[in-house]
């Protein structure tokens, strides 16, 4: 499975160049049209892609987390509380959010990751609910069910990014950093270790890979990325509540990941790029949006088990056979 994916990613240089050009072209769309609405959509794509990228890191060691929204929430609340209560700059709040989310994941990861497959999904599902309930119980920090509004906007070295046009380049840089981190992990020794653990846990263990520590590392990195994306989302949207980071958000990250490609390096980006703007194309049929998401999810699972990112490889293999 993963070998097919690496083949596309690192395959013929011309192909990689083509993809890079296409990606840059897509990233330029808001500047070409100049529409603030397109800027907003593009920023949301960046945030979703970052969060889904975090989910992908955990998926690379064979675990699917339904608590991803909770980690985004931990990052968001950490950053918002640091910025509003301690007057820290937002630029420090974002990594602090990542740090705390990653720290929590590291601590609870060791016992959690003893569970595998559907059991891990179930416990992370329960954790996400527990996070929401606990946050609702401490309204002096979380704002309770009415949430926290008027969160300070993103700012860099004192310069507030007040317009969509100003936020977008920053979002692109953050996304590039996250994707860069993903590439580094995937192409490095750690990526091979992740792959070995995902493909055959017992064999990896027997070959001397510390599987428990490897899985925990992936979970920690993935959740830290979620924390970063959550903090970004909080400062961009300006409002958070415990309900923001509920089950639905976790599910939407899972949908993006699966649609993009569960094990593909570029899967999270492809999934976010495809699904985030989709509702806008369905303007005339807003009420069908979630039904279409559901159908896409089931259809991708059924016919494109490697996701949209695996589509070129799947097509070329079919051609090769014919």
């Amino acid at each position: 499975m993963s070998s097919a994916v690496t083949r596309t990613a690192s395959g013929p240089g011309a192909m990689a160049l083509l993809w890079a050009v296409a990606l840059v072209a897509v990233a330029l769309i808001p500047w070409i049209t100049g529409s603030t609405f397109h800027f907003h959509i593009a920023i949301m794509v960046c945030i979703s892609a970052m969060a889904t990228g975090g989910l992908a890191v955990t998926a690379w060691v064979g675990q699917l987390s339904l608590a991803h929204a909770a980690f985004a929430g931990i990052g968001a609340y950490t950053s918002v509380l640091l910025v509003t209560r301690l007057d820290l700059p937002v630029l420090l709040g974002l990594p602090a959010g990542a740090l705390v989310a990653g720290g929590v994941a590291f601590v609870i990861g060791a016992p959690l990751l003893r569970l595998r497959g559907v059991y891990f999904v179930l416990i992370t599902f329960a954790l996400n609910e527990l996070f929401r309930l606990i946050m609702l119980e401490i309204p002096e920090y979380s704002g309770g069910s009415s949430g926290i509004a008027g969160i300070p906007k993103l700012s860099i070295f004192g310069a507030t990014l007040s317009s969509y046009e100003a936020v977008y380049p920053f979002a692109l840089v953050c996304l590039a950093l996250v994707m860069g981190l993903l590439v580094l992990i995937r192409k490095g020794q750690l990526g091979r270790r992740f792959g070995a653990v995902e493909e055959n846990l017992a064999l990896a263990e027997a070959s001397g890979i510390p599987t428990a520590r490897t899985q925990n590392l992936a979970f920690t990195i993935g959740s830290a990325i979620a924390g970063f994306a959550g903090a970004f989302l909080a400062h961009y949207v300006g409002f958070i509540s415990p309900e923001t980071f509920g089950f639905q958000l976790s599910v939407s990250y899972v949908i993006m990941l699966v649609t993009g490609g569960r094990l593909a390096l570029w899967g999270p980006l492809v999934g976010a790029l495809f699904l985030t703007p989709l509702p806008e194309f369905l303007r005339g049929a807003v009420e069908y949006q979630h039904i279409i998401y559901g159908v896409i999810l089931i259809a991708v699972l059924r016919f494109l088990p490697q996701g949209l990112a695996g589509l070129p490889a799947q097509l070329s293999r079919k051609e090769g056979r014919a």
């Binding site: 569970l115 497959g117 559907v118 009420e287 979630h290 089931i298």
Partner: protein, 287 residues
């Protein structure tokens, strides 16, 4: 104080029976087909709407409506098995993700058909039973009574019929069951259909108490999850024990502490059980 304890006990048993209706179907689908069905709560919702349509639109008697709901749900289970779950028979994780998609489709389908507003359900019975200081509303007693009858019928079916034995054999060991002539092509849709029917009938029973809307499936799904995790995925006796336990815990914590504390206590319990005994209180360890 002793009155409060007795009242909590009664409320706990009522809650527990309803959770059991939800949880048995859920655990059956997992035991038979290895599917963790995130759409289970949506079938509760569909059952409630079936009951609403039967009683208020078609003017059918309540028991007839419930019977029709069960038939409809079994058929729906067979269709869903064929269209959504069949390709993922040997892939638990993909099957589960597919059920997330199914849940979205069903919930938003209901939203389009019926709108977001909660709809009132006519009361089937009114008044209360009183024993001294203890009070049980008749509407709850009715739901409890029918629920117990349905659970008994289901128990007899499972223990004393050919298909029931086949289902239990599948839960124990798929391959051996298949070798002994259990026909998967019939038993998979039947297992899922029966599980869904139990959820739907729970929806039909609860509709007069809690009203009907497209969003009512979330809470019962959560309860079924909790019960099934506590009892062990796929274990029916485990589900029975855990359902009553959960009902009692909820009723006692909310009487003596608070309702939100009840939720946190149960979730902490779930996480604790999963960590100490991942297979649940009465579940078998994974092979």
């Amino acid at each position: 104080m002793s009155f409060l304890i007795a009242q909590s006990l009664i409320n706990g048993v009522i809650l527990g029976t309803l959770y059991l209706l939800m949880a048995i179907g859920f655990t059956l689908a997992f035991g038979v087909m290895r599917i963790v069905n995130f759409a289970h709560g949506e079938f509760y919702m569909i059952g409630a709407f079936c009951a609403l349509i039967g009683v208020t639109w078609l003017g059918l008697p309540y028991p007839v409506t419930l019977a029709l709901t069960i038939v409809f749900a079994i058929l729906m289970g067979a269709v869903v098995e064929r269209l959504v779950f069949r390709p993922f028979r040997n892939d638990e994780l993909s099957g589960m993700i597919a059920s997330l998609g199914l849940a979205m489709i069903l919930q938003h389908g209901a939203l389009i058909l019926f709108g977001p507003d909660p709809q009132a359900f006519p009361a089937m019975v009114t008044g209360v039973f009183k024993w001294g200081a203890l009070i049980v509303p008749k509407s709850r007693a009715l739901a409890l009574g029918i629920g117990i009858v349905i659970l008994l019928i289901f128990y007899l079916f499972l223990m004393h019929t050919r298909h029931g034995r086949a289902l239990r054999a599948l839960v124990q060991d798929q391959e051996v069951a298949a070798v002994f002539g259990v026909r998967l092509e019939i038993m998979y849709p039947l297992g899922l259909g029966l599980g869904i029917a139990l959820a739907a009938v729970a929806g039909g029973l609860m509709a007069p108490l809690f009203g009907v809307s497209p969003f009512i499936g979330a809470t019962p799904l959560l309860k079924a999850f909790i019960v099934v995790i506590l009892g062990g995925l796929g274990s029916i006796p485990g589900a029975a024990l855990a359902a009553i336990l959960l009902g009692l815990i909820e009723s006692f914590t909310s009487s003596f502490i608070s309702a939100s504390a009840a939720d946190i206590v149960t979730f902490a319990l779930v996480i604790g059980v999963l960590l100490v005994r991942p297979a649940g209180l009465l579940g078998r360890a994974e092979a």
